[in-house]
């Protein structure tokens, strides 16, 4: 790995030198500049905050060095399952930074923000088409907030019909946000057992479906990377009991142009624009989590709802049955510009080719690695595959160890220990943007690690050694949390 200056171990606070500065602020051009003459004294800070005093070159060099202590998609293959770490097109960035978008205040009168509103309207229509849903709200800030919005709309729907349902069914293979969002919406979570391949256990589902159940929430394709083929049966079983069906859209990258949740009987789904629609992950965000719904849920959409009257776009705030607002303004607009740009770059054929190639790449990895690692489910997978390091575990080499060794070999690691139903899980998602050459290098590395597990496990236990730091004491960090810099902290 391209490392920063060897041993670089500074925090910006530790570069501070009294009297140095990097800011370039205007001189005060109005008569009274002293805040003590303008504000009551008790409101003014007694002492200045203890912040760094550094020059611009200090700042640029420090953060450039920190960046070199990271792996990103621009520098490394990043097979982090369920996160869809695909290439982030550069044109998206240029477009999101156009002053008419980046420098637009959210409360600019609607008549003077028509370009932004039109882009939002077009994106929501495109997402509705891609998902087969009737309406899309762009407001949720991330997938988990999209889930909350979806579940709250389901709740409002049942309440409007005079039904008090208290439970939501969620398979044991679900993403952790599903139960967390559901609990936040005031429901109790009932966990359903999955079949071996991650499919829904229909008998268990049947047993739990009742008039106290508000929704069934599943990921399609499931978290083992398989398409749930009995999906129509499932949505019909749920609807027969008045239960709404929610699709977690984390795995949308597998199905673009192939199948649509709306056509499968789902009532709600969310999108992770930072996954399927190439907005950058930024070290953990921002994302964007638009939510799509069928017509019967439309009265409950978050406010405001974007409407078009003739050629004019406007926000409709008069939605008496709405679940309300989710963030202060209208959505993570900067991410919406990127997703819009991506969809226009790809067109219908391009979007379909995305999923075809994502599926091809995942199956290629699976076929090359199934000799050395246990696969978690039979049959072709969709856009990601889940392996188990069960065999390696018997030799004392865990999924974590394999992940760390991969870092030394020039790759970021797969997702480990998820889904929870697979022992020593390694969840690999190559995405469509990776080439056969990259996949081959990765598979070669994985096969090498399997061989090392047999011949030289110590090598794996010592990994990583090429990274700026070696394995870190996570237990110690949690036991005695040190969460901020202090002058004595060094």
């Amino acid at each position: 790995m391209h490392t920063a200056k060897p041993g670089y171990d500074k925090l910006i606070f530790e570069l501070s030198c009294p009297g140095r500065h990097a800011h370039s602020l205007p001189e005060c051009d109005v008569p009274v500049s002293d805040p003590a003459q303008l504000l009551p004294k008790e409101h003014l800070r007694a002492a200045p905050p203890e912040l760094p005093e550094v020059s611009e070159v200090d700042v640029v060099r420090h953060y450039s060095r920190l960046s070199q202590m990271n792996y990103g998609v621009d520098t490394h293959f990043y097979p982090l399952g369920s996160c869809t770490m695909k290439y982030n097109p550069k044109i998206n960035e240029d477009m999101a930074r156009l002053p008419g978008f980046a420098r637009l205040h959210p409360l600019t009168p609607e008549v003077a923000a028509q370009g932004a509103l039109r882009l939002m309207d077009e994106l929501s229509r495109d997402l509705a088409e891609v998902s087969g849903m009737d309406h899309v709200s762009l407001q949720p800030a991330a997938g988990a907030q999209g889930e909350l919005a979806g579940v709250l709309m389901i709740r409002a729907y049942h309440l409007a019909r005079g039904e008090r349902r208290t439970k939501v069914l969620i398979p044991d293979s679900a993403h952790g946000t599903n139960p967390a969002s559901t609990a936040l919406a005031g429901y109790s979570v009932v966990e359903l057992k999955s079949e071996q391949n991650g499919d829904v256990d229909l008998l268990d589902l049947e047993r739990h479906l009742g008039d106290d159940v508000a929704a069934f929430m599943i990921t399609q394709p499931n978290t083992l990377g398989l398409f749930e083929s009995r999906i129509h049966q499932i949505t019909e079983m749920c609807h027969a009991k008045g239960v709404q069906v929610y699709m977690d859209g984390a795995n949308f990258n597998a199905i673009l142009g192939i199948t649509r949740p709306g056509d499968l009987g789902f009532d709600v789904c969310h999108f992770n624009l930072h996954k399927t629609f190439t907005t950058p992950h930024g070290g953990g965000g921002p994302g964007a989590g638009p939510v799509g719904i069928k017509d019967h849920l439309a009265p409950f959409l978050p406010t405001p709802v974007l409407v078009k009257d003739g050629d004019e776009y406007a926000f409709d705030w008069n939605r008496p049955q709405s679940i309300g607002k989710l963030q202060a303004f209208w959505g993570n607009f900067g991410m919406l510009v990127r997703a819009w740009t991506y969809i226009r770059t790809m067109g219908p054929d391009g979007l379909r080719a995305v999923s075809d190639n994502a599926v091809l790449n995942a199956n290629y990895i699976l076929s090359r690695l199934e000799g050395e690692y246990d696969r978690s489910a039979p049959g072709p997978c969709m856009h990601e595959c889940v392996l188990s390091a069960r065999r390696q575990k018997k030799l004392g080499v865990t999924a974590t160890d394999i992940a760390k060794r991969l870092l030394d070999l020039g790759f970021y690691a797969p997702t480990t220990y998820f889904p929870l139903i697979v022992e020593e899980a390694l969840m690999i998602e190559p995405t469509e943007t990776e080439s056969k050459e990259t996949l081959d290098e990765f598979c070669d590395a994985m096969i090498q690690i399997a061989r090392e597990a047999r011949d030289n496990p110590q090598l794996i236990h010592d990994a990583p050694v090429t990274t700026p730091v070696r394995r870190l004491d996570q237990t110690g960090a949690a036991r005695q949390p040190r969460l901020k810099w202090t002058p004595q902290a060094k």
Binding site: C28, V59, P99, G100, H281, Q327, F333, Y412, A413, L483
Partner: protein, 447 residues
């Protein structure tokens, strides 16, 4: 298909390795009935040059702060964004990384977040800050949920000085857990403390107060803290950290939680998102905090390193019992804020506050001299103030747009009682020339 690397020849090789004849064979588990039998009905692919031309035209329809003098605030501000920020955050190693699940390969992100936590704790005067939430509004909502969980009490009292858009988000989040929301009215621009005292009870989990508040006025945070604490409730202060280089930190005034919008710290306005949710707390509340935390530790060789910590609070471990459902946060916006604070430093962050205050007060004084125009409140204000106009604020704002001035936010949509009012924000970027031009245009508009 420039983002797809495999050639048709490579696809054939890969299919042969897998042992199938076509990609279609890999999709065999998807029943025919579930298939979309036509291409997606989205517009055809556009070449890059056409796309750029089209989006430039679309963006030009928007009245942005490069072309207009922006006096709009109410939660999003036109503060200056130093040049290095965009260059540094655009480095692919920051930009295209994800949540630092493998700390050894993510020290850049982790280290910068640790710096961010340290800076936010210092600015707010609190013991600990998390690695960011979505925006100011959802941060207030998460704080309300947390207060409910910590105190096991069921009511939250919100000052009417809280941004009404934030209040709406709190209402959404409190719906599921069944938390009851009460209001404390404002008097002359600031929260009416006697009314606040009456609004709290033994059932109050928290009092929420914004400082400076939605109308720009400064609150008596210490008095609000005393009222909350006397009732056994927590005090949640909603603050804008860009102001805290100059204002007394809420932590020194008795706040238990400080939350707010960090967009002013170098994050573009971007039509309202992504923003930056700031969340800081007292030490004893750290294990109940929502969101991510980065902690310092050591590696096998004893060298300092950083990791995500206290993750047992989070949804991937605790699932339905997690402190919140937040997963993806706004790490890149937190990085922007970190670089911003580093650039401004100890002196610059204070200067931003001083300049904004000075210019806002000059503007308020100048505007209030115009016949028929007056300041709605006499309470002390910071960088934002409320004007009462003799004519419809919507119409006045529309008229000033012709002079390339975004005059402020008409308050009618937020509060019928303020239907004659315009909320005006003045940052350090506004010049005396712009303010004087505003005054002239305003005088003409209300004459």
């Amino acid at each position: 298909m420039r983002y797809i690397s495999n050639t048709p020849a490579q696809q054939r090789e890969m299919l042969a390795q897998i042992g199938v004849g076509s990609i279609e064979d890999l999709l065999a588990r998807i029943p025919t009935k579930a298939r979309l039998s036509r291409p997606l009905n989205v517009p055809a692919a556009m070449a890059e040059t056409d796309l750029v031309r089209h989006l430039r035209a679309l963006s030009a329809l928007n009245a942005n702060a490069d072309d207009y003098a922006c006096f709009l605030g109410a939660g999003s501000y036109d503060h200056s964004v130093p040049s290095p920020i965009n260059h540094l955050i655009s480095r692919g190693e920051f930009f295209t990384a994800y949540t630092p699940y493998q700390p050894e390969a993510s020290q850049g992100t982790l280290r910068s977040i640790f710096e961010y936590q340290s800076m936010m704790a210092e600015l707010t005067g609190m013991d600990v800050a998390n690695a960011s939430l979505y925006d100011g509004a959802s941060s207030v909502a998460e704080a309300a949920l947390m207060a409910h969980a910590v105190t096991e009490l069921n009511a939250i009292v919100l000052s009417k000085g809280l941004n009404p858009l934030y209040r709406q988000v709190v209402e959404t989040y409190c719906e599921g857990p069944g938390i009851r929301l009460k209001s404390a009215p404002i008097g002359d621009g600031a929260t009416d403390l006697d009314a606040l005292r009456k609004a709290v009870s033994g059932q109050t989990a928290a009092v929420v107060i914004q400082h400076p508040n939605f109308f720009g006025c400064l609150e008596d945070v210490k008095a609000a803290a005393d009222i909350a604490h006397a009732a056994g409730a927590l005090l949640i202060v909603v603050a804008d950290p860009v102001n805290l280089g100059l204002l007394t930190p809420p932590g020194a005034l008795g706040a238990d939680l400080v939350v707010g919008e960090g967009q002013g710290l170098g994050v573009p306005m971007s039509f309202g998102g992504p923003n930056l949710g700031v969340f800081a707390a007292k030490q004893e509340l750290v294990r109940r905090m929502p969101g991510r935390l980065v902690g310092a530790t050591v590696d096998l060789d004893g060298q300092r390193g950083f990791v995500l910590t206290l993750q047992t609070r989070e949804q991937h471990i605790r699932r339905e019992k997690a402190t919140s459902n937040i997963c993806t946060n706004v790490a890149l916006c937190a990085l922007m804020a970190t670089i911003y604070v580093a650039i401004m430093g100890k002196v610059g962050i204070r200067k931003v506050g001083e300049l904004s205050t000075a210019k806002a007060h000059y503007a308020a004084e100048t505007f209030a001299k115009i016949p028929g125009v007056r300041l709605r409140f006499t309470a002390p204000f910071f960088k934002e103030f409320t004007l009462e106009l003799p004519k419809s604020p919507e119409r006045v704002a529309k008229r000033l747009m012709k002079e390339k001035i975004l005059a402020g936010v008409p308050l009618k949509a937020f509060d019928r009682a303020q239907k004659d009012c315009l909320l005006v924000a003045v940052t350090e970027k506004r010049t005396r020339g712009e303010i004087d031009a505003y005054a002239a245009a305003l005088a003409a508009a209300v004459a």
